[in-house]
């Protein structure tokens, strides 16, 4: 008797034969599959690297806490001690009115900022560095700090970083939705080609069933056919993503160089590529088996 492995090898051989029997048709199908896989993965790759870079440029988000001028040294120490243990706070810097004045003078390049004033009007301040860049956590933290009676104002810095974060998050969700749509398209494309294959082989399937072939026996070569298309589509898609990535990097280097900046999209690493390929194979399996099953159910005895 043939072993299970031999039967699978036989099924793969049959699937391959069907695939190369109509090279042009199947090349086009594979191209469509490849595009559907490549578009969302390229976008994902670029967006996630842009988001990563943006986070790095923005630095850890900080909240500037202006204390009331009436607050004394002891109260400040007590407040910063209590904030230090907050789970969403990484570090706290104290800025005294004198230090604040110095920084202000430096920034303005002038020594007589206080001309006409008889005392330093700046309040003592705390710079609170949050441990998370999640906007909801930052806003909650800001509110919490502002609620203290010692605090006059708590301002969230790096507003642009927060917006960028929100925007990349939104883009990531949009890409996910896009990926779902493309996945559905891939399933439909594969289902359709397999359905055509099944229709072309309907006599053969019927004869095999009449001679006692199991559904698995009939289904196997078609499933390999669908998965083979996906495998080839996935490989072509990988090539497309790489080409797009290299093209993007060349352009971004050209554009950013004058500003002394550089940004490169990284390639997919092995695990990511493998997961992507497995996912494509699962889609191929699903599409092919559902295309065959609907035909097989019509051949059951009534």
């Amino acid at each position: 008797m043939r072993s299970l492995a031999e039967r699978h090898v036989h099924a793969i051989a049959t699937a391959t034969r069907r695939l190369i029997a109509e090279p042009l048709t199947h090349c086009l199908t594979i191209l469509v599959i490849a595009l559907s896989l490549a578009v969302p993965s390229t976008l994902y790759r670029i967006i996630s690297d842009v988001a990563f870079m943006a986070k790095g440029q923005a630095g850890p988000p900080a909240i500037t806490v202006l204390l009331r001028t009436t607050v004394n040294q002891d109260q400040v120490i007590k407040l910063s001690e209590s904030l230090k243990h907050h789970q969403n706070i990484a570090t706290i810097d104290f800025v005294s009115p004198e230090q604040g004045l110095k920084e202000l003078q430096q920034r303005l390049g002038s020594d007589d900022v206080l001309a006409g004033l008889d005392h330093n009007p700046l309040p003592p301040a705390l710079i609170v560095h949050a441990s998370s860049s999640d906007p909801t956590i930052l806003l909650a933290l800001q509110k919490e700090i502002a609620a203290s009676p010692l605090v006059d104002q708590a301002k969230l810095d790096a507003d642009w970083a927060r917006r960028l974060h929100a925007m990349t998050h939104l883009l990531e969700e949009a890409i996910f939705a896009l990926a779902l749509i493309f996945a559905a398209a891939v399933v439909i494309v594969v289902m359709n080609t397999v359905r055509l294959q099944v229709t072309a082989a309907r006599e053969e399937i019927e004869v095999c069933k009449l001679m006692g072939a199991s559904d698995a026996f009939v289904r196997r070569p078609f499933i390999y056919f669908g998965m083979l298309q996906m495998l080839l589509g996935g490989c072509v898609a990988f090539g497309m993503t790489e080409a797009a990535r290299l093209g993007f990097n060349t352009l971004s280097t050209e554009w950013l160089k004058p500003y002394g900046l550089s940004f490169e999209v990284q390639p997919f690493h092995g695990a990511e590529a493998l997961i992507g390929l497995l996912l494509a194979l699962v889609l191929g399996w699903f599409a092919a088996s559902s295309a065959v099953s609907s035909f097989l159910s019509r051949l059951r005895p009534r």
Partner: protein
């Protein structure tokens, strides 16, 4: 009553097609192992319908049908597949695959059974030799005459070494001379122990052979006797 289990047993067997037409009305029939049974009757009598029930292709609408004591009415899919693997079927409409060679057509049942390819080749060659197609192995069935195609169908039914062969109009459109040659072939299988159920609308043709003749008309058994030979 014999106490031995007959190979095929039908009790009040009816078959109604999904469109509501009843093709068999209460068939009672026992077929013993080793029999050569001809199923006669005009076109539309229900011969094909009966053969399809025996091979588990269709399900009965009423009554029961047993093969070697096993009730076929509600067989599970795997049991049905095992059953079909053990029956050689010759179809009225041949059901040959025209995009495959003679050899590949004959090998199909063995591939389905999962036989190793060396053994498959040996058995296919023997079966083709037996039906007189030894020299046509790599031809397309399209290149075969009507009688040769019929013999290819028989080789395909034979190759799995089934205990039961069911043939639907195997002499169908053949000239009498070819028809007789086919029947002689079946007779030789029967002599080597294979049980045969052969449907034919041409009862004159079968009279030359020794066997049992069950005459069907409008879904009922009209007579059950021996051929004149």
């Amino acid at each position: 009553m014999t106490d031995s289990v007959p190979m095929i047993e039908m009790n009040a067997l009816t078959r109604r097609y999904p469109d509501g037409r009843e093709a068999l009305h209460g068939i009672d029939l026992r077929i013993e192992a080793g029999e050569m049974l001809f199923l006669g009757g005009p076109s539309g009598a229900g011969k094909t319908t009966l053969l399809r029930l025996i091979a588990g292709i269709d399900r009965p609408s009423g009554g029961e049908i047993k093969l070697n004591g096993q009730l076929l009415n509600r067989l599970s899919a795997p049991a049905l597949e095992a059953l079909r693997k053990n029956i050689g079927m010759v179809f009225q409409e041949h059901k040959l695959l025209m995009d495959r060679t003679v050899e590949q057509n004959a090998a199909l049942p063995l591939q389905i059974q999962g036989l190793a390819s060396a053994e498959t080749q040996k058995r296919v060659a023997a079966a083709l030799e037996r039906v007189g197609l030894g020299g046509r192995a790599s031809d397309s069935p399209l290149a075969l005459s009507g009688g040769e195609r019929q013999r290819l169908c028989i080789a395909r039914a034979l190759v799995g070494k089934p205990a039961l062969i069911v043939a639907d109009e195997p002499t169908g459109n053949l000239d009498a001379e070819y028809g007789e040659a086919i029947l002689t072939l079946f007779r030789s299988f029967n002599l080597s122990g294979v049980t045969l159920v052969i449907a034919t609308h041409d009862e004159r043709l079968v009279q030359s052979l020794e066997g049992r003749l069950v005459h069907l008309d409008q879904g009922r058994i009209i007579s059950d006797g021996r051929t004149h030979a």
